[in-house]
């Protein structure tokens, strides 16, 4: 029996790891996906004023600090039992959609793009952002850098700080924006919409225009019939900042729609001895192991899940793309994991359009951005959609508002069981007895998990939130390395 480890090249200890075991016949026997443990997060938080959690929790992840800031702000609103002022709500949602624009474009161009624009089995030296620049031209790369800079400018105007926003306070935000700032925001968000449309066009040309890619996306090796989770507004349209959480089944039917505060009634956690990270599942359906189908409580929370769990997008151009997505891929729900990349771009267009709607709102500069809390409830749950899945923050405090208990379920954790299943199925589909396992093969297995845009930093409550990879084929008998392939991005 041979063991293939997909090991991070990072020097961080306690790293994430993918291990593929191959039997004597050269077929995949099992795949293990492990994540390291980080210590002391709850202890670090207990005894602090709960307001501080909006500034502490963003630091557990270098990839989506804004998502933690928003989930924390909402949980803190609930702890104080205060309604958010409408002007504060608008600014929070605008900041949040600008963040989605940045995060989704970064994922597409830097993480997912190389697999498609350069090719899944291309030379890894070419399969990176520099390869993309070479292929799509300097102009596009400049536009990407410019978009990121402008999104950061908008986020800073509202958030106060660029990387770790500090604007969220119980009942609203810390400061209003000026008329001049609003004008600039309108300009910037106009650019968002253009760039989102351009990105969808690029996906059309490069991916949908290539039959091999379409076949790959639709292939069984990259398909799982699971439940899907996503936040929806009162019309069951996708919303990233607020709404109820809806779960639909592999058959497309609604299983449950619930308030964030009731998450513990819906989600339970399975544990495995080899992994520190829990496997959340739907209580109502139950844990049946790492299997898909109507009877398995495994669910996914991702851009694809949000589209599947909703009835559409709340903005017109994104809605048109939503319809095209399902008509092209054979109806709803779509179970193809790699279609998540397209779903992410549909969401990018929604985030851009929604940010533009909010930026042009006639009352955006309303100075009443905050309701001051007058009492304390002592417990609160805040939920937002992080780019990589539904994010739950749950805090308890004493009657002075000092933290006594913290529980988080982060985007990637939701997908832990599904990622494990996707890796195994892709490995089974791609590694056959007697064939050589190339770097390209292993990259395609990794594509199964890259589609989820996983962020282990936050799943394990730590930085850095990234997992560079080296693929190592080892002889299990001697431990000798037979072959290795680096993913050095």
């Amino acid at each position: 029996m041979k063991k293939i480890s997909v090991d991070p090249i990072t020097r961080l200890e306690g790293h994430g790891k993918i291990e593929i075991f191959v039997n004597d016949a050269g077929e995949v026997a099992n795949v293990y996906f492990q994540i390291p443990e980080l210590r002391g997060f709850e202890r670090f938080c207990v005894g602090r004023p709960v307001e501080e959690l909006a500034r502490i929790t963003p630091r557990i992840c270098g990839v989506c600090p804004e998502a933690h800031h928003m989930a924390a702000s909402k949980a803190i609103d609930a702890v104080f039992g205060v309604e958010v002022a409408p002007a504060g709500l608008r600014l929070r949602e605008l900041l949040y959609n600008a963040f989605f624009v940045t995060d989704h474009t970064t994922h597409f161009y830097i993480l997912a793009g190389p697999d498609f624009v350069i090719g899944p089995t291309a030379d890894p030296a070419e399969r990176n952002i520099l390869g993309i620049v070479h292929k799509v031209g300097l102009e596009t790369a400049s536009a990407l850098i410019n978009l990121r800079a402008e999104a950061a400018e908008l986020i800073t105007m509202i958030g106060g700080k660029q990387i770790h926003p500090v604007c969220g306070l119980p009942g609203g935000v810390s400061a209003a924006v000026t008329k001049e700032q609003q004008e600039r925001m309108v300009q910037i968000t106009t650019g968002f919409v253009e760039f989102a449309k351009f990105s969808l066009q690029l996906f059309d040309d490069v991916v949908l225009g290539n039959n091999d890619y379409v076949e790959l996306i639709k292939s069984d090796a990259f398909t799982h019939q699971t439940y899907y989770m996503g936040m929806v507004d009162e019309n069951n349209k996708v919303n990233f900042y607020d709404g109820k959480i809806r779960v639909t089944g592999p058959d497309g039917k609604e299983l449950v729609k619930f308030e964030g505060k009731d998450y513990l009634d819906v989600i339970a956690e399975h544990v495995e001895p080899y992994s520190y990270l829990v496997y959340p599942y739907l209580k109502k359906v139950g844990w049946k192991g790492f299997v898909d189908g109507n009877d398995s409580g495994v669910y996914r929370a991702s851009p694809l899940s949000r589209l599947n769990a909703s009835d559409g997008m709340a903005t017109p151009q994104a809605q048109a793309e939503y319809e095209r997505f399902y008509s092209t891929l054979g109806g709803k729900p779509v179970h193809a994991t790699l279609a998540t990349h397209w779903a992410r771009l549909v969401e990018l267009l929604y985030a851009a359009e929604r940010a533009h709607e909010l930026a042009t709102h006639p009352d955006l500069t309303d100075p009443n951005v905050r309701n001051i809390p007058t009492g304390i409830v002592g417990e609160g749950v805040g939920v937002v959609e992080a780019p990589r899945g539904t994010l739950y923050h749950h805090y308890k405090t004493d009657d002075k508002g000092m933290v006594t208990n913290v529980n988080l379920i982060v985007g990637t954790t939701n997908n832990n069981a599904a990622i494990s299943m996707s890796l195994k199925k892709a490995a089974e589909g791609l590694i056959k007895g007697g064939t050589e396992i190339s770097e390209g093969t292993l990259n395609m297995i990794e594509m199964a998990f890259r589609a989820y845009d996983p962020c282990f930093g936050c799943a394990t409550h730590t930085l850095p939130g990234d997992m560079p990879l080296e693929v190592v084929t080892k002889s299990e008998a001697t431990g000798e390395i037979i072959a290795s392939a680096k993913r050095n991005m």
Partner: protein
């Protein structure tokens, strides 16, 4: 006159990972030669591009896990720097790649990028204290960075 950026990187709530940020803070409090700026950053990747553009020289201070003794300090030039738990990344891009991308885009990228990496003992426990070897190393790195920027 050449312009220099000293960039302290890390996470302030993950024990030894905060050492780069601390060094930057300490340097900020003391005198610095003309043309030297000091900044802190908690994230890397593409964002490095925006931070370093326009400077002739950049000196980065960060924590590292490489199997050396905790508190060991290693000086790298960017072109030989492959490690560091923050520079190679699935979600962002490496330092070397970021600099190359910036050059291709015609952004003014620093010619000279030096990294002082402090071997960490613990970057897995939430906390605001350094381990004793890293606390001692922080003082030495401060001197090393001062010498580096004084040398121009």
């Amino acid at each position: 006159m050449t312009s220099t950026l000293v960039l302290g990187m890390g996470n302030p709530i993950l024990s030894d990972d905060g050492v780069g940020l601390y060094v930057a803070e300490r340097l900020q409090a003391g005198p610095m030669p003309d043309g030297v700026e000091i900044q802190q950053s908690e994230v890397a990747g593409l964002r490095l591009l925006e931070l370093v553009k326009g400077y002739d020289k950049v000196v980065i201070v960060d924590a590292l896990r490489s199997g050396r003794e905790p508190g060991d300090i290693v000086r790298y030039e960017a072109r030989e720097f492959k490690g560091g738990h923050r520079y190679g990344s699935a979600h962002s891009i490496g330092l070397h790649t970021a600099l190359e991308l910036g050059r291709q885009l015609g952004m003014p990228m620093p010619e000279d990028v030096t990294v002082f990496a402090v071997e960490a003992e613990d970057i897995e426990t939430f906390g605001e204290e350094f381990s004793p070897p890293v606390a001692a190393a922080a003082e030495r790195v401060i001197d090393l960075v001062r010498a580096e920027v004084d040398a121009g």
